[in-house]
């Protein structure tokens, strides 16, 4: 309401000047390479001399390629869901906690960001491996006789990725939940709503911006997490980043790798767009009873 005092025209004029340096960086280091990538993908042969849509046709008619894409998108969905389910209560607790506990929660949430992805990933290998912490504990307790297979499984990978990407979910959630006026929950209660109704009718719809931001970030990070996917997933599971790497680096098929990139990018953008559309709809129909 306060911003109404500034005419929209002024905002644009100042905004353009201030945004120019970053815009330039984006143009040179992001837009231009992307354009080059697209240009490369429009060639039918490996040395990029013959124009055509052959690479796209090849990918979209190849069941193996499509299954890699599908597996990657599914992996992202599973990781995002797990992060949301585990992360929301943490963000909620942060909102309700005292100052001291809030600091501790933030520290714990941020801690994964302060260690290298490689280190974190190897930690998961130590935890999930055949002679890892979980297996040796369960065996010494006599609960299992042979080690469980957790490393190189979809479940193990989802858990490891969820841990690695958790800050990307929790931080936007903390911000969004922190912005919700605490009086709203009191108002809801005084009007006769129980805890669950208050949560689903008031708190959840109002945390939607944080949920969308968190899901988008987590999703994008999970499906492109090359190191964790490769090390915890192992050689038997192939996801888009590794597929792309093999095509470009090992097989030197640059146009096909470029086409994979473009298809991957479009698929991710489509899903991000879906997230925000769903979120917007949830906000509009807050009272959907």
């Amino acid at each position: 309401m306060k911003s109404a005092a500034i005419a929209p025209g002024d905002v644009t004029r100042y905004g353009l000047g201030l945004a120019a340096p970053l815009a330039l960086v984006f143009a040179v280091f992001f837009i231009a390479p992307l354009a080059q990538l697209f240009y490369l993908s429009l060639h039918n042969d490996a040395v990029a001399t013959v124009w055509g849509l052959g690479q796209y046709v090849k990918f979209l008619t190849d069941p193996f390629s499509l299954s890699v894409l599908g597996a990657t998108l599914l992996l992202g969905a599973e990781v995002t869901l797990l992060c949301l389910v585990l992360g929301y209560p943490i963000a909620w607790l942060h909102q309700r906690a005292g100052h001291w506990l809030q600091t501790v929660i933030i520290l714990i949430v941020l801690l994964p960001l302060l260690t290298s992805v490689v280190v974190r990933t190897f930690a998961w290998i130590v935890i999930l491996g055949r002679q890892g912490i979980i297996n040796s504990t369960l065996q010494s307790l006599g609960l299992i006789s042979t080690p469980l297979r957790m490393l190189y499984t979809q479940g193990g990978l989802v858990v490891a990725l969820a841990q690695v990407q958790m800050p990307l979910m929790v931080l936007p959630l903390i911000t969004a939940i922190g912005r919700i006026d605490t009086n709203l929950a009191d108002a809801s209660a005084s009007l006769g709503a129980g805890h669950w109704r208050t949560f689903f009718r008031v708190i959840l719809p109002l945390s939607m911006p944080g949920i969308i931001a968190g899901c988008t970030l987590t999703y994008a990070a999970a499906i492109t997490a090359f190191i964790t996917q490769s090390l915890v997933g192992g050689g038997q599971m192939l996801f888009m980043p590794m597929y792309l790497y093999q095509q470009a680096s090992t097989l030197q098929n640059w146009p096909f790798a470029a086409a994979i990139s473009i298809i991957f990018l479009v698929a991710v953008l489509a899903i991000v767009a879906l997230f925000s559309t769903l979120g917007r709809r949830a906000r509009i129909n807050g009272d959907a009873t």
Partner: protein, 361 residues
């Protein structure tokens, strides 16, 4: 709604609350509110009035004492089972719901079907003169309109008690008076027992049937606005409600309800004493600016004009007494009221005996 269920009484029975750190928020508060009354809880910030409101609403469980609504002790009931309507200071409208959905929220929580809810919300919105705005979102409304919505939302659940937390603090002065009249009208119409928490004495005196003045978690006085203003029982009430000049002195002679005091500023004064006094007690004498006048004879006490403030309907002079204290004197502005020059020597005296109130120091 008029002529509906009989308005419920509210009794606070020896309410004491300590915060987690051990700080005493309110101490031994007894209030007996009759059905349909408007009560103001008046006090400066930190006096415990908001804590009291949150205890009545059920957001805080008091350390000791009982809250009784009608014939029921409600201490064991959570906020959502107390049927206490609240209008929050910032209105706390649900920003993602339309005005109509906001008003219908309490009914939805009670399982009322959508069509009935819409109709009831519309009826309430028309009652607060916002019938055409049901489809808007709260942020599209002005402050005064948002407050009407908050009121309609609280009334929709047909509460037994209505609590208003600093309801007019966020409104500008002209709108505030309109809303005060509006709230009083709606309260009379609905006949709901109402508690207003406020730090604004004018608001408390104009809106409430009875006013409870709180200070440091203690109930200082509970009475009608006239009793509070004309017959304050404590020094705090006398100085917090309205303005009062405070003059130090020593009791010369004391009776059961009054005393004669020698003032340090010179002169003697006779006043009421709410608490019994004895001769030679050190006291504070409170005298309201409108209970003083300039005199031309030798009665009263001498001083010199410090400043003259023409405040519209009244004229206030600040007078420096001989002992260095300053005293305000307020006169209604009539045709011949003139401002006096600074530095002029004057004598002032109470308009009559018994207008001063005397408290132990």
């Amino acid at each position: 709604m008029a002529g509906g269920a009989e308005a419920k009484s509210l009794v606070l029975d020896r309410i004491t609350h300590r915060f987690a750190g051990g700080t005493l928020a309110v101490s031994d508060i007894n209030l007996d509110v009759k059905g349909g009354e408007i009560i103001a809880l008046l006090g400066p910030s930190g006096c415990g009035k908001t804590t009291l409101l949150r205890i009545i609403a059920g957001f805080i469980g008091q350390s000791e004492g009982r809250v009784i609504i009608g014939k029921d002790v409600v201490d064991a009931l959570p906020p959502n089972r107390r049927a206490v309507g609240i209008v929050f200071q910032n209105y706390a409208l649900f920003p993602h719901l339309t005005i109509s959905e906001n008003v219908g929220y309490g009914l939805a929580a009670r399982g009322v079907d959508k069509a009935t809810r819409r109709g009831e919300a519309q009826r309430l919105l028309e009652m607060v003169q916002l019938g055409a705005l049901g489809a808007r979102l709260p942020r599209q409304l002005s402050g005064g309109q948002q407050q009407r919505v908050a009121l309609a939302r609280a009334l929709a659940i047909k509460p037994s008690i209505l609590l208003l937390d600093e309801p007019f603090a966020a409104l500008d002065k002209n709108l505030r008076l309109d809303m005060q009249i509006e709230v009083k009208r709606l309260q009379r119409m609905a006949g709901i027992t109402t508690l207003i928490v406020t730090h604004d004495q004018e608001e408390a005196l104009s809106m409430a049937d009875r006013v409870a003045v709180l200070s440091h978690g203690q109930l200082e006085q509970f009475g009608t606005p006239s009793e509070i203003y004309d017959n304050p029982q404590t020094l705090f009430v006398n100085t917090f409600v309205g303005t009062a000049n405070r003059m130090k002195g020593t009791v010369i002679a004391a009776g059961p309800t009054g005393a004669r005091v020698q003032l340090e500023a010179g002169g003697e004064i006779i006043g009421r004493a709410p608490k019994p006094l004895r001769a030679s007690d050190k006291v504070v004498v409170c005298l309201r600016p409108e209970h003083l006048h300039f005199v031309s004879d030798e009665s009263g006490f001498a001083g010199e004009i410090g400043m003259a403030l023409p405040l519209g309907a009244t004229v206030v002079h600040e007078i420096r007494m001989r002992d260095g204290q300053s005293i305000k004197i307020s006169q209604a502005r009539t045709g011949d009221t003139s401002l006096r020059d600074a530095g002029a020597t004057v004598r002032i005296a109470p308009l009559g005996p018994g207008l001063a109130t005397i408290f132990p120091e």
